[in-house]
Symmetry: C2
Subunit: 352 residues, 2 copies
Amino acid sequence: MSKPTLALIGATGAVGTVMRELVSTRDDVWGEIRLVASARSAGKVLQVRGEDVVVQALAPEVFDGVDVAIFDVPDEVSAEWVPVAAARGAIAIDKSGTFRMEPDVPLVVPEVNPLDARNRPRNIISTPNCTTLSMMAAIGALHAEYTLKELVVASYQAVSGAGVAGPARLYDEIEALAGDRTVGQSAGDVRKALANKLEADSPFPAPIAFNVVPWAGSYKEGGWASEELKLRNESRKILGIPDLKVSATCVRVPVVTTHSLAVHARFEREITVADAHRILEAAPTVVLMDDPANGVWPTPVDVVGTDPTYIGRIRQAVDFPNTLDMFVCGDNLRKGAALNAAEIAELVAAEF
Amino acid sequence: MSKPTLALIGATGAVGTVMRELVSTRDDVWGEIRLVASARSAGKVLQVRGEDVVVQALAPEVFDGVDVAIFDVPDEVSAEWVPVAAARGAIAIDKSGTFRMEPDVPLVVPEVNPLDARNRPRNIISTPNCTTLSMMAAIGALHAEYTLKELVVASYQAVSGAGVAGPARLYDEIEALAGDRTVGQSAGDVRKALANKLEADSPFPAPIAFNVVPWAGSYKEGGWASEELKLRNESRKILGIPDLKVSATCVRVPVVTTHSLAVHARFEREITVADAHRILEAAPTVVLMDDPANGVWPTPVDVVGTDPTYIGRIRQAVDFPNTLDMFVCGDNLRKGAALNAAEIAELVAAEF
């Protein structure tokens, strides 16, 4: 039996870089691995599994003979090229928002709904937005036993969720402001200091150093940011709870990589901290870090660059029945993006 | 009629510094102003209302002839000295946590419950914790018309909430890490870089640069941090809603000053975004910044150093009836601390 051929579309981006590392270090289930990117990056030589691979420009022919194609490209590129790949016989795993809510495209988190990956009438499988993904393995494990009814979420989202330009901007701003021990103490002083030293062009709609920015994504009706509605709609679809109640506030913070979420979750019946610990300790890709009396809880800088979903600060709500408050951290470039796509690809590869 | 005498206890701290600025620039309702601090700071000369004032060491005699004493000192110092001031005839306004939940000590936010300041059988008035205060003027205005039932809050707390050592540590960490454009990308790299350059001694239980830290205060039963329970208990007392349901998750972020809160608030009856706008526009110390289609919402660096409570990102919850999601910012050293105490002192001064 020959191993399936994999194509990575968007191989040069922030997620693409992690994806190359993942397919180089995880179980080697792949035959040929092709790297594909925009015409601008074509001809570049990148390493995969320790070997040099020449990046090919995106074109219909690159999908010939490809069994599985992982797309990490902007929405409009996915909209055009995912159907091309599928039509040429590849199973397309798409990281963009384009197909996630289509009823005939499964939205898959392998720990939560692996069987959905089998039902893919259009040969397309979608992978969720990084904010949703950063908590889903942990929340899915609790839901499986206690049945989730409501989620109120506030996010602490890392800058790399905005692509490679995000960390570059944060490092630039930090460098521009470091050494000034008065900055951040009067209104507008950070903006003024940055305006003197950096170009205005930023992936963020406000300064991100010494600040938090309550906006992620594009404007939607009712004052919602698109990431907040994605968290709602995608959680419902992945968990298979069409009437799940969700409210989210998405906030960008000056963290390079790893999204954190404060989660207030109501279940169908009473769930204690001990119940949650038992479930989460047994969940294979979840790491429980929950001993606050001894200062044990996850933070971004302690877990970044690793695969699991970390959870701590689990408390039974004092005033809300059947409800837990929690703090979850997940690397938005790994489980939040590349790793989930790689895991779906491996699920599919097992069919060959 | 002679103007009342004011004493500022803890005049040299982070809040004390803002307090001296406030009494120097607000309506001049005070006669003599005495500055008091620990024996270590006694003899220092500080400016108030443009005049030099010699700092006196805390002792029973400093309260002789004092009408109003504002305390910004650690809990144990308040526990000892607030009753001394009250016994010597001063009305003591205490910023510490010591007396806040005592039934015979009012807990006052002048915009919300000014009349409670009149009922002070022990001659003591308490002012809330800075996290609670940072949202209270806005939440109180909405409650007055729509009756609050539930609050789910996640905080983004500035480092100056931990005292003058907080900003010093953040600036130190930023300086130590600036220029390294790989930091924050692998687990523990921030800790390692800091360990090489800085002393381990930090007011925070984890790195605060390039990080968020889900812990504020001391350990309480059930895994709660003391600040989370304060937000619950103090909100109930200030708003006069003994059965208000509250869950909070308190998280420290690398912001110098200005606490932000993501607030999910359920009311007794339906409240629209337009209703909330009407109320908040009319609330005298609240500034509405809520036009997300045009990128208008508050962030810490845009409002720090100013007095109002800023609110934006107001949305009607999609799945929860009678519920708004919001984002609130307030300077934790001003409205969150010194300003609220100064306002209570002015309420009391008007009685003289």
